[in-house]
């Protein structure tokens, strides 16, 4: 049962084959057994969770159930949830209890889904390995000595280890897609502005976007129907008609023009990853897709641009943590300034401090034009690359990450090497486009483990239904997405 999709489990609930309480308890039991090692969940509240399941059962009994009613979902700990400890992976918020619900939490509650618990993440979503979490690293279920990716590493590991049926993530520079790739699941970052950022603890506001992490594209479509929609509480939320993201799932792919950016297959891409991605592309040809080579010439610049814009926005967003209204306050301090400086020095981890310092520096007097403004200008060039590319193709495909999961500790001390993990994902955030990763196969590690490889699919603005169609068609003819790691039975 643990390997069933949201769609299948939903049908079992509707058909009264199982209750939400039974299903939820099954996943809670698995968490009890496997989470102490994997560390995918950092906060559980079984009473709250089971109360929600009970409520879902009453909805189902009354015939008021919808697609996700009664299904247990892991929530990334970046989302504030009322009455739940919400830490964002930081000591700064170690004891923070959410006083309200994030938009995404409200939406899942609104359809009767069950909040199974809060998942581990890189501190304030800053990282690509989940190693910056104050609550300890997360194991990749495919090889416990390796990282799950990040920053949504807890959500990815939880789905991969079948500790939940699906989970939520957020993606500022690849934080849904890269862990989805490294843990062998499907993850989607929507077009910027489709999902509300209200109650999602802010990292880089012009890039942050939440999205689904699940076992299949069909499940992601069901979650997209819940997650997206206008929210007046988010100033960058887009006021558009609601869409049904399942509507195009079964369309044939014949004639679909798939663009392969030559920069995504150049130096820096691991040969083992390239092999799997090329095999996936060959599968798409069999499905009737037409392959065209395209160019995204400013790809290399996306990393420097991102590491100006994201830290700049982060340094501003994280200034709210002052030890006054909420969050960590140092035990001993002198005057007010000393209280700020000590509270923040103690509450933030090393990577978060580095990014705050970079951001403070690039925004400081005299440097704004040379860094922030320059980065925003190049950001437009990067977006124009995609605009030009979409004149030649309907959809773009390539690798999600340059390598498979790396060993814990391998890059932890080298920020620049870590940042390069996001070379194929960051430009998508800068352009505000939707991007997703789906399992495309495995590459063997040097010690003989099977490590998942993700195929990235990038769509034009608001083209999520087409991307999900492309992913679903592939998942009808392959079974990479249903394979499970060993040792999680």
């Amino acid at each position: 049962m643990i390997n069933k999709s949201l769609k299948q489990l939903g049908a079992m609930l509707q058909g009264k084959e199982i209750s939400s309480v039974e299903l939820t308890q099954e996943f809670l039991n698995r968490i009890d057994r496997l989470n102490p090692e994997i560390n995918a969940f950092i906060t559980l509240d079984k009473d709250k969770t089971l109360a929600q399941a009970k409520h879902a059962d009453s909805l189902l009994a009354a015939g008021k159930g919808t697609a996700l009613t009664g299904l247990p979902i892991g929530q990334k700990d970046i989302f504030v949830a009322k009455g739940w400890r919400t830490t964002c992976g930081s000591k700064m918020l170690e004891t923070f209890i959410g006083p309200y619900d994030a938009d995404i939490i409200e939406r899942f509650d609104g359809v009767g889904a069950v909040n199974l618990g809060k998942t581990n993440m890189d501190e304030f979503a800053m990282g690509s390995s989940n190693e910056t979490s104050y609550f300890g690293k997360v194991q990749n279920p495919w090889d416990r000595s390796r990282v799950p990716g990040g920053s949504s590493g807890g959500s990815a590991a939880a789905v991969a280890a079948r500790l939940c049926a699906a989970a939520t993530g957020t993606d500022t520079g690849g934080s849904i897609r890269q862990p989805a790739s490294l843990c062998g699941l499907s993850g989607l970052k929507p077009t910027y502005g489709l999902a509300s950022r209200f109650g999602m603890i802010a990292f880089a506001s012009s890039l942050d976007q939440s999205g689904p992490m699940a076992k299949s594209c069909e499940d992601m479509a069901l979650m997209m129907n819940v997650i997206t929609g206008f929210d007046k509480r988010d100033s960058t939320s887009l006021n558009r008609e609601k869409e049904d993201y399942t509507r195009d799932l079964s369309k044939p792919l014949a004639g679909l023009k798939v663009g392969l950016p030559k920069e995504y297959f150049a130096e820096g891409l691991g040969a083992d990853v390239a092999k799997v991605v090329n095999e996936a592309i060959a599968e798409y040809k069999k499905l009737g897709a037409e392959i065209v080579e395209i160019s995204l010439p400013n790809t290399q610049l996306s990393i420097p641009v991102y590491y100006v814009l994201a830290p700049a926005e982060a340094s501003s967003n994280l200034s709210r943590f002052d030890g006054v209204r909420y969050g960590h306050r140092a035990k001993e301090y002198g005057d007010l300034m000393d209280m700020y400086c000590k509270s923040r020095a103690e509450g933030f981890g090393a990577e978060v401090k580095r990014r705050i310092l970079i951001g403070t520096y690039v925004l400081s007097a005299g440097y704004y034009d040379a860094y922030y403004l320059k980065a925003q200008q190049i950001r437009r060039l990067i977006a124009q690359d995609f605009e030009n590319a979409f004149k030649q193709c309907d959809i773009i495909m390539g690798p999600t990450a340059p390598s498979t999961a790396f060993k814990a500790g391998e890059k932890a001390d080298d920020p620049v090497a870590m940042y390069l993990q996001d070379i194929y994902t960051i430009a998508v955030n800068l352009a505000g486009l939707p991007g997703m990763s789906i399992p495309a196969g495995f590459a063997p590690s040097e010690d003989g483990k099977r490590l998942p490889v993700g195929l990235q699919i990038i769509g034009n603005y608001f083209d999520e239904a087409r991307m999900l169609n492309a992913g679903h068609a592939y998942q009808q003819v392959t079974d990479w997405h249903t394979q499970m790691p060993e040792g999680i039975e």
């Binding site: 420097p304 909420y326 005057d335 020095a345 580095r354 970079i358 520096y361 190049i378 620049v416 505000g432």
Partner: protein
């Protein structure tokens, strides 16, 4: 742009983060690496390019100037590090 550890301490002060001398040294090495990465931008000619902050052509929404929030002082103060009589406590700032 090369930084020294006095610069790190100055930036850290602007960011309201206390750093010791040894931390400043260690941070200097890492920040220098990151700034080296960022420096690649300077080779690009961006003359006349309009900076981009949002992918969609959107403008800030306006709403009626009316109260939309309810008072939740007690709830919000229940998670504060130090409060007294409905006020947030901080070290004395006025002599």
């Amino acid at each position: 742009m090369s930084l020294n550890s006095a610069d790190i301490k100055r930036i850290a002060h602007l960011a309201r983060i206390e750093v010791s001398d040894t931390e400043a040294e260690a941070t200097l090495t890492k920040l220098t690496g990151i700034l080296g990465l960022i420096e690649q931008m300077q080779a690009v000619d961006t003359k006349g390019i309009v900076p981009m902050s949002h992918s969609q052509d959107v403008t800030q929404r306006l709403r009626d100037d009316v109260v939309t929030e309810t008072n939740q002082r007690e709830l919000f103060q229940s998670i504060a590090p130090a409060v007294e009589g409905g006020l947030y406590l901080v070290p004395k700032v006025i002599e």
